[in-house]
């Protein structure tokens, strides 16, 4: 594939987004099916009629170690969360891939623009949550 052809840039970015979405959807389906079996029946109507009082939100551990433990032990909630993480990672990967695609086109201006966007994105995702006063 000739990466200098602008059309192939669309193809690659389109694929990154499509595979990210498909992977995320599959993992969430897996978690949802697991949830139905964990409840002792294949009745998934509980998912359609959400009852806010029935869910022990505090029991969901979203810390990296808790999530990892849940994934290894096939906890359905953790798998759904994993699917959500894959979904969140999809646009981020798209930006990462764009930096390389513009680089292969030797488009320095857009390498710079995309790299700055990536830096802003990572700063906002990883740094700002730990700054007091942000997102309150």
């Amino acid at each position: 594939m000739n990466l200098r052809d602008p059309a192939s840039m669309n193809v690659v970015i389109g694929k990154v987004l499509r595979y990210g979405v498909l992977l995320s959807g599959l993992i969430i389906i897996l978690g949802t099916v697991g949830l139905a079996f964990a409840n002792g029946s294949s009745d998934t109507s509980g998912l359609l009629t959400y009852n806010p009082g029935s869910i022990p939100h505090d029991s969901i551990d979203t810390s990296p170690s808790g999530l990892l433990h849940g994934i290894i032990t096939f906890a359905p909630f953790s798998w759904i969360e994993l699917g959500v993480l894959v979904l969140i990672a999809t646009p981020v990967s798209r930006v990462v891939v764009s930096v390389f695609l513009f680089a292969s086109e030797q488009d320095r201006l857009y390498v710079l623009i995309t790299a700055v966007v990536l830096a802003l994105l990572l700063f906002s995702m990883l740094v700002t949550p730990s700054i007091p006063g942000f997102n309150t």
């Binding site: 059309a7 389109g14 359609l48 959400y50 969360e81 646009p91 802003l120 995702m125 997102n135």
Partner: protein
């Protein structure tokens, strides 16, 4: 929840907004979900609408990647500023102001209601240096070539969109579409699909905080995410076949709803 989310995905992917405008009120009012979990779910919904539909739009070259990347500079910095000043601002007053701006922006939108493809301006200055032009093919085979104009104004409008989404978690998409449509004079389908492309990045930027805070409830997010992804796939196919005139009518209607929703929220209605 699943079926409403399909609906939200279809609409969101056509008009370039996140679908949060449908998801949040449906979850809070119809399902009695706490507003925090509703916002957490809507962030996931926005990313799903964006990535799900953008994969089709990008492949079919209707999204303008350069315009998107360039404007993301403004939306991403704006979102950080918005998140940083959120603690020091009165969100109700802000919602009232921005709801008002959206209402006012209905005027130029209604005046342009019959417009199909705008007369393309000459490519010059900064737009030329940035290569902010493009071309796409309608399903009937006609090729639409276009140039962008007033990139600085577009950047400013998108920065407002970014601040807004950082501050309030919503409303970014509407201002992005308006910036590209009114300031940069892009064809509306290019504006909505490029906005759709961008909102995923803006939402991902703030997703980390909602996730670690535990606002992303698996029981709510599973049906919402799956519904949104299916809806976005349907919506993307609908948009490709739609005329700019039709998209403009739908967008103007959704804009009116978004404006009213934001003003109601400012007045204390839990939407």
């Amino acid at each position: 929840m699943f079926f409403f989310s399909i609906f939200a995905g279809i609409f969101g992917s056509i008009v370039g907004l996140g679908g949060g405008i449908v998801v949040i009120p449906v979850l809070t009012i119809l399902f009695g979900v706490d507003i925090h979990f509703a916002i957490g779910a809507s962030i996931v919904a926005i990313i799903g609408t964006s990535s799900g539909a953008a994969s089709t739009y990008v492949r079919d070259k209707i999204t303008n990647l350069r315009v998107g990347m360039f404007l993301e500079l403004a939306s991403a910095s704006g979102a950080i500023v918005g998140a940083g000043i959120a603690a020091y601002t009165n969100s109700a007053a802000l919602e009232l102001v921005f709801g008002g701006i959206l209402l006012i922006s209905l005027v130029p939108m209604v005046m342009k209601i019959g417009e199909d493809v705008p007369k393309s301006p000459e490519l010059k200055g900064l737009s030329k240096r940035l290569g902010l032009k493009g071309s796409y093919t309608e399903t009937n085979g006609s090729q639409i070539d276009y140039n962008a104009t007033r990139p600085v104004e577009g950047l400013a409008g998108t920065a407002v969109a970014g601040v807004l989404s950082g501050l309030l978690g919503i409303g970014g998409g509407a201002f992005k579409v308006l910036s590209m449509d009114i300031a940069m004079k892009l064809p509306l389908k290019v504006s909505t699909t490029t906005s759709n492309f961008m909102i995923g990045v803006t939402a991902a930027a703030s997703a980390g905080i909602y996730f670690t805070r535990g606002d992303v409830d698996p029981l709510i997010v599973a049906p919402v995410a799956l519904g949104i992804l299916i809806g976005a796939a349907i919506g993307a196919r609908v948009l490709l076949r739609s005329r700019n005139v039709t998209v403009r009518k739908v967008f103007t209607g959704v804009l009116a709803v978004a404006a009213v929703e934001m003003i109601l929220r400012a007045l204390g209605v839990p939407l």
